[in-house]
């Protein structure tokens, strides 16, 4: 006859990932590499935004990009064309990256000589928000065609963002039902503290403000 006993655990299911993430942040601090976790839905313009960001910052920082996708390497190819280093991670069907997968990617990449690594997370507004990757800061992109109601529909993503980039502002005259005031108010409901920057990766609008934000954050991290 089997003898059963109960072991109390009472541990959050994400506790293990949270520990990995804290550990990764310590490792990154030790080598002074600033890791930015960039999230958005598919097609919001993560890669195009990165290409322009790299072209503006590549003389100041050694930049590396980690592309996370379920499959394919089209994004890594696009990034490599800018001259920045890139690595493609395949999540093998998973909808997000966790801290352990991020660390494995960083090890494979070799980040000791990099000042700035951007993790381009899987295009998805739900799951990546749940899992701390170990990044120093979280950025998210919302593009105008997606609509100004997204902060209402995906609250957690907007809650955890340190900066929200509203991309594709060049199409605002066409998408005239997108209200800049409403989207700011809805983001503020979820997150009173994040920075909100209106950009267009196509025209370069807002990129001085965005790259200044990055410079300021990297400097604060390196001097901390």
């Amino acid at each position: 006859m089997n003898d059963y006993r109960i072991i109390e655990v009472k541990e959050s299911i994400l506790a293990d990932n949270d520990r990995d993430a804290e550990e990764l942040r310590r490792e990154l601090k030790a080598q002074n590499t600033f890791l930015l976790n960039l999230m958005s839905s598919p097609g919001a313009g993560k890669t195009t935004t990165l290409v322009r960001t790299i072209s503006m910052l590549k003389d100041e920082f050694n930049i590396g990009i980690m592309e996370a996708d379920i499959d394919s390497d089209v994004d890594a190819k696009t990034i490599t064309d800018t001259g920045a280093r890139a690595i493609q991670l395949h999540t093998g069907g998973m909808c997000h990256l966790d801290a352990d997968m991020t660390r494995q990617g960083l090890r494979e990449f070799g980040t000791e000589d990099l000042d700035l690594v951007v993790l381009e997370n899987v295009g998805n507004l739900v799951c990546p928000a749940e899992f701390d990757t170990g990044a120093v800061r979280n950025a998210m992109i919302l593009s105008v065609p997606e609509g100004d109601d997204k902060p209402l529909k995906y609250p957690l993503m907007f809650q955890i963002a340190d900066v929200v980039l509203i991309n594709k502002c060049d199409v605002l005259p066409v998408f005239d039902d997108f209200s800049k005031e409403d989207v700011v108010e809805r983001i503020r409901m979820r997150n009173p503290n994040c920075d909100i920057i209106f950009i267009s990766a196509k025209t370069g609008e807002g990129f001085d403000e965005w790259t200044d934000w990055l410079r300021k954050e990297i400097k604060a991290f390196q001097e901390a």
């Binding site: 089997n2 003898d3 059963y4 006993r5 109960i6 072991i7 109390e8 655990v9 009472k10 541990e11 959050s12 299911i13 994400l14 506790a15 293990d16 990932n17 998973m94 909808c95 997000h96 966790d98 998805n124 739900v126 799951c127 749940e130 899992f131 609250p155 957690l156 409901m189």
Partner: protein, 114 residues
């Protein structure tokens, strides 16, 4: 949406607990799952039934999920109300100064072992 990843994470934690308690077989795992924790219990169970067969010590382990109802508190009028029915806006006074009291839990409560 990320139920499979969550299942792997649970299995990892349970295996660690089992190893440090000298457990040979896990009979069941009890979870507390908040109503608004973004995880769908049915999907979680499907992923679980598939994933545990790949383990050594929990091939037969049952998943026992207890759902915690979501409750939101209104800071302006002090009302506690059902989050799923009313969302972020207080149904009594219309305020948006509200916060989730409970309902996003996602905890391994206990494991039954032999």
């Amino acid at each position: 949406m990320h139920e499979l990843g969550v299942v792997f994470s649970i299995i990892k934690t349970v295996e660690e607990v089992a190893a440090s308690n000298d457990v040979k077989e896990v009979a069941s795992v009890k979870l507390n799952l908040g109503e608004v924790s973004t995880v769908i219990p049915e999907y979680l169970t499907d992923c679980w039934n598939w994933a545990v067969k790949r383990t050594e010590i929990m091939k037969e382990a049952k998943l026992d999920i207890e759902i915690i109802p979501a409750v939101t508190y209104c800071e302006d009028c002090g009302t506690e109300y059902g989050t799923v029915e009313h969302g972020k806006i207080c149904p009594k006074c219309g305020s948006s100064h509200t916060y989730l009291l409970r309902g996003n839990e996602f905890t391994i409560q206990e494991i039954e072992v032999c």
